[in-house]
């Protein structure tokens, strides 16, 4: 098995599928030596990259010399354009360009001054230049692939991968065109100079100059010239390939020379192969060795409507009209002027357009050279197109789908691999313009892909916006939470003293209560505490009394409610009255639990309280009392336990705080409330934990007590809320609600863990507590005239409702 290089040296050629043999008609233009035409007055240089990756470096009215750069830019794909002539920039505007569409392109119009002044071209020799300098020179000279595609040459000369094989394309398979043929005949030496430059840059193992066998003069000229280049002898091989269209296509030529295919979607360089046109090699040596930018090229002017067909050196920017006039063009009816060859060239809509770097031929055919316009007939599925297709596609299937606008199906038949060579249309017996259908389908697919990409980007943008909004919201919440914590922290430190005092008082009370447990010494407690003087002391006393009374009620059957009612009366302070009322209410409730007689007295007591706030407090107290009563009732059902005691103390503490909080007019009140909340929460948590750990029975009790404490806390908070008119209070309320919710949830969790028996009890109690909370919140909210308060109330109600629902759900479970 020979290696590829050995095969290349041996001259092995591979088969390229498909292809056609259209009439060559090259002898029209290759019989004469290359020539020049009279210079034009005006040259038009399209500036396609300006505004994209380049900027103009001349203005209207500027004097420019031949070879002067008209644009500056930095981009990877950027190629400068140069003035082909010395003259004056007369206009820079949108002009029709040399393109099938005739779309206007920003164009620099230069009026020749006939002075032939030119910029200094810097002559160098290959040995003194580094590779980077060569690449820079190539780029600055604006060298692009002269085979037609005009891809920037400096990119192809600096590939990312190692290059093993360079193919110099002198195939020129299109009919009529002879510019490469004539260039090889006349400028073989310069082409090899260019090949030397390419060889230095890419240092490939082999360089193959491919020439079709219909150009014997060109191949012999090249072969002869090669003997002058000793350094290229071992590397360069001139290979003559059989004439077939489209052998000059990059992919087809690689297949013929190496037998390899370029995988779809990749470029030849990835296979270690680079293909350059002979014209490009010539232009590269001009740029690198002579410092001359690409301002002119050899163009074939041919067709039977041209009197002196041949190859002419035309400055880039010469108008097609001027060029054709100089060679004796006469237009017939329905004249076509084709840029490029008859297979792949495009017909110009008008001929007042410039010659570009990729313009290798201007064809002005007569009617008998070109197929007359015929109507497209029905496809008879003869399959000749598939036989002719060099890309091994099924052109007829592509046509079916393209015509039916089923572009996705056309794509599934590898439409993108179509090189638009025109072989299928050429052989079609039904005169179907297949390539036109493919072009339409390709552009439709391209548009579709672009739209899809845009939609994708819009989606990404939208999602990013949603995320940003969500993040902002979270950040706001976090900020407010931190602020609340900060407030809490500062409040804690400020109210340390009072908390300590309170704690001490509570401890004392508890101790007493413990002492009195089992005995009926409740009457003493009020008198003791009642002796203490001062406003707060009075309040405390009232509370202590109430507590004692409650305990007494619990432990014994005696009706001490009257005593409790008497004690608060001497207190003349308004707030104290309220506290008293609360205590009374509680007591009354308790009493009601035991006997129905006392209900009347409660009503009497409540009536005198005229203050609005007091009424609310009373309501709160009532609610609490109710709760406690219920608790008691429950406790009645089961027997009293230790945990219950803890619970009730929790409740008491809460009650205490609420009465304490009222007189405090601003900040301290809030602090106290916060402390109370925290405590309540802690206790509740303890209870909850206990509940989970303890037996089913205890669980039931615990969760119940937690319920009531939760409700109480909420109630207290809301009553505290009222006097505090500012925003912080509302926030505190919200926090309290949230906590209540959390507790309720905890309860719910506890419920799930407990037995069916306890569940029933739990859910009931939670339900009622939920309702209570809502009621309380709404009660409290009413007096507050502020809108926000109402909103808060609404929110609270909604939450209550939700909790109720949750309860129901857990019940179901």
């Amino acid at each position: 098995m020979l290696t590829l290089l050995e095969q290349i040296d041996k001259g092995t050629l591979w088969h390229s599928p498909g292809g056609v043999h259209p009439p060559q008609l090259k002898s029209l233009s290759n019989q004469t030596a290359s020539a020049r035409i009279a210079p034009a007055k005006q040259y038009r240089i399209p500036l396609p990259q300006v505004g994209d990756c380049a900027r103009l470096s001349v203005n209207v009215g500027d004097k420019v010399a031949q070879g002067q750069q008209l644009t500056e830019g930095e981009g990877f794909m950027y190629l400068p354009v140069h003035s082909p002539i010395s003259g004056i920039v007369s206009n820079i505007s949108l002009q029709h360009s040399n393109h099938a569409s005739g779309l206007p392109v920003l164009t620099c119009i230069i009026e020749s001054d006939g002075l032939n002044s030119q910029v200094d071209y810097q002559v160098s020799t290959l040995g003194e230049l580094t590779n980077q300098q060569i690449l820079d020179k190539t780029k600055q000279a604006g060298i692009a692939g002269l085979g037609g595609a005009t891809f920037p040459s400096h990119i192809k000369l600096n590939p990312a991968s190692e290059i093993d094989l360079v193919i110099i394309n002198g195939v020129e398979c299109e009919p009529y065109i002879t510019s490469d043929d004539v260039l090889m005949r006349e400028n073989a030496f310069e082409i090899f100079k260019g090949i030397q430059v390419i060889n230095q840059l890419l240092s490939p193992q082999r360089i193959v100059v491919a020439i079709e066998d219909n150009k014997p003069e060109a191949s012999s000229a090249m072969q002869q010239c090669l003997t002058q280049f000793d350094d290229l002898q071992s590397t360069v091989k001139i290979t003559v390939i059989p004439t077939k269209y489209p052998s000059g296509g990059e992919k087809q030529l690689i297949q013929i020379i190496t037998g390899r295919e370029v995988p779809t979607g990749s470029i030849p360089a990835q296979q270690g192969i680079v293909v350059h046109n002979v014209g490009t090699a010539y232009a590269i040596q001009d740029a690198v060795l002579h410092g001359k930018p690409l301002i002119e090229r050899l163009v074939t002017l041919t067709g039977e409507q041209v009197k002196q067909p041949g190859n002419y050196w035309l400055p880039i920017g010469t108008s097609v009209e001027h060029a054709l006039e100089q060679v004796g063009f006469t237009a017939m009816d329905n004249q076509k002027v084709i840029i490029g060859g008859p297979m792949m060239g495009y017909a110009l809509p008008e001929y007042n357009v410039p010659v570009l770097k990729g313009t290798n031929c201007i064809l002005a055919p007569s009617a008998n050279e070109i197929a007359p316009d015929v109507d497209e007939k029905a496809c008879i599925r003869c399959g000749e197109c598939a036989v002719a297709c060099p890309a091994l596609l099924l052109p007829q299937q592509l046509f079916w789908h393209a015509k039916a606008e089923e572009y996705d199906k056309a794509a599934s038949f590898n439409l993108k691999d179509c090189i638009e060579c025109g072989c299928c249309s050429f052989v079609c017996p039904s005169d179907i313009p297949l390539v036109e259908y493919y072009r339409i389908a390709k552009s439709a697919l391209k548009n579709e892909a672009e739209e899809k990409q845009q939609a994708e980007q819009a989606k990404i943008r939208f999602e990013a916006r949603l995320k940003r909004l969500e993040d902002e919201k979270l950040a706001r919440e976090e900020k407010s939470r931190l602020a609340a914590e900060k407030r809490k922290a500062s409040a804690n430190s400020a109210s340390n003293k009072s908390t300590v005092a309170e704690a001490m008082a509570r401890v004392a009370a508890k101790k007493k209560a413990a002492e009195q447990e089992g005995h009926s010494k409740t009457a003493e407690a009020p008198s003791e505490t009642g002796a203490s003087n001062g406003k707060s002391a009075a309040v405390k006393a009232a509370i202590e009394r109430a507590k004692a009374k409650k305990l007494a009620n619990k432990s014994s059957e005696t009706s001490d409610s009257t005593a409790a009612e008497e004690n608060p009366q001497p207190v003349n302070d308004k707030k104290a009255q309220i506290a008293a009322a609360v205590a009374r209410a509680k007591a009354k409730k308790l009493a009601a639990n035991q006997s129905t007689d006392n209900s009347a007295s409660v009503e009497e007591n409540t009536a005198p309280v005229d203050d609005k706030k007091a009424q609310i407090a009373a309501a709160v107290a009532r609610a609490k009392a109710k709760k406690l009563a219920k608790q008691n009732a429950d406790a009645g059902i089961y027997s009293t336990t230790d945990s219950e005691t803890v619970d009730s103390s929790t409740t008491e503490a809460a009650a205490e705080v609420s009465s304490n909080a009222e007189p405090v007019d601003d900040k301290k009140a809030k602090i106290a409330v916060a402390v109370a909340r925290a405590k309540a929460k802690k206790l509740a948590k303890q209870n909850a934990d206990d509940g989970i750990d303890s037996t089913t029975y205890t669980e039931t009790v615990n969760s119940e007590s937690v319920d009531s404490s939760t409700t109480d806390t909420a109630a207290i908070v809301s009553s505290t809320l009222e006097p505090v008119d500012d925003k912080k209070a509302k926030i505190a309320a919200a926090v309290a609600r949230a906590k209540a919710k959390k507790l309720a949830k905890q309860n719910a969790d506890a419920d799930i863990d407990s037995t069916t028996d306890s569940e029933t009890v739990d859910s009931e109690s939670v339900d009622s507590s939920t309702t209570d909370t809502a009621a309380l919140v709404s009660n409290t909210a009413e007096p507050v005239d502020d809108k926000k308060a109402r909103i808060a109330a609404a929110v609270a109600k909604a939450k209550a409702k939700k909790l109720a629902n949750q309860q129901k759900l857990s019940e179901k479970e």
Binding site: G265, K336, I370, G422, S425
Partner: protein, 349 residues
């Protein structure tokens, strides 16, 4: 100055659809001549009837479809269909059957599916099958080869028979053609085998000349010659024809080697009935065939196998029409599943 714009390429081959069809029709001439030589003038009369009917039907339907009558008639596709129907049916088939067949081919099979290029089934073969299943008696009575016939069918006799000029009626037809018609060699062979004879015994009959049917060998050879001319002119590609002939050869060869007594020889298969006509002129109708080269080989092979299977095991002595129609049904599937590997793609893509 404004120019005329057109899409590339700006040149094309001169082989247009109408020329392709015209060449197909011209390449049928050797076969037609052989058929006339062996089976009388009836074929020419049938061609006349079929061409007139098909072109009229095409013109009428194009008028109904509001399309250019001139374009449709000038593409010569109806002409080819007409000639194929005419050479496929027995030469002395009554004129009204030919008219029915041609009308069915053009109007129903071709234009109701969208006209040229859109029909699924080969119009000529669909018409043949319609006539075969509707009028089995007339369709299986082939004219006796001139060597065996009592008297040669002259042009006047052919007209008289086909247009039933003397007296109308089926009985008369039977009596009138009795002198000229007999079962085809394939029919005879099949009947003999079913009656318990061996193939060698059957081949002793006078319709055979030892190897193949009298006259049929030459008719097939003439169609083969016409087909080779078409290949040379690149009117058709070789894949379908080779597929058919190879499949028939391989199948009948295996059958003949395994059991020569009950199987016809490959020679008899290849040069009897419509084998060559089918392989070069009928199955190669591009509209109803597969399009890729491998697909075409498979398409041809399907027809070849079906011809062998129906001839050997089926109920009909010749099977070309059924085989072609069945393969027509497969063509879209073949095209869908057998795609060439595109340039730069790995196999299977």
């Amino acid at each position: 100055m404004a120019f005329k714009i057109a899409s590339s390429p700006h040149v094309s081959t001169s082989l247009q659809t109408n020329k392709v069809m015209q060449r197909v029709a011209l390449c049928l001439i050797p076969g037609i001549l052989a058929q006339v030589y062996f089976f009388g003038m009836g074929t020419l009369v049938q061609i006349l009837i079929a061409v007139i009917t098909c072109l009229s039907a095409e013109a009428a339907i194009m008028k109904l479809r509001n399309k250019s009558i001139k374009n449709a008639l000038s593409d010569n596709s109806a002409l080819v269909t007409a000639v194929l129907i005419a050479v496929a049916i027995p030469p002395l088939t009554p004129w009204w059957m030919t008219v029915i067949g041609c009308f069915f081919a053009i109007v129903i099979v071709k234009h109701l599916y969208g006209g040229l290029g859109n029909n699924i089934f080969n119009p000529a073969m669909a018409a043949y099958v319609l006539l075969l299943v509707s009028f089995p008696l007339q369709m299986t009575n082939w004219v006796a080869p001139s060597e065996l016939a009592a008297n040669q069918v002259s042009i006047t006799a052919a007209f008289a028979h086909i247009f039933e000029l003397s007296t109308a009626g089926l009985d008369h037809f039977r009596i009138a053609v009795d002198g000229h018609t007999m079962a085809t060699p394939l029919d005879t062979f099949k009947t003999d085998l079913s009656m318990g004879m061996t193939s060698s015994e059957s081949l002793q009959r006078n319709v055979f000349d030892g190897m193949t049917g009298v006259g049929w060998f030459w008719v097939n050879l003439a169609y083969l010659a016409g087909g080779l001319i078409m290949l040379k002119l690149k009117v058709i590609r070789w894949h379908i024809s080779v597929g058919i002939l190879m499949a028939i050869f391989v199948c009948s060869g295996i059958g003949f080697l395994l059991n020569p007594d009950t199987h016809a020889s490959p020679m008899l298969h290849l040069f009897s009935g419509g084998t060559m006509l089918c392989a070069f002129f009928i199955a190669t109708d591009p509209v109803t065939a597969a399009t890729s080269t491998r697909g075409r080989l498979l398409f041809g092979a399907i027809i070849g196998v079906l011809i062998f299977v129906i001839r050997t095991y089926g109920g009909y002595p010749d099977a070309v029409a059924f085989a072609v129609l069945l393969a027509n049904m497969c063509a879209p599937f073949i095209d869908y599943y057998i795609r060439p590997r595109s340039y730069g793609h790995r196999a299977g893509n």
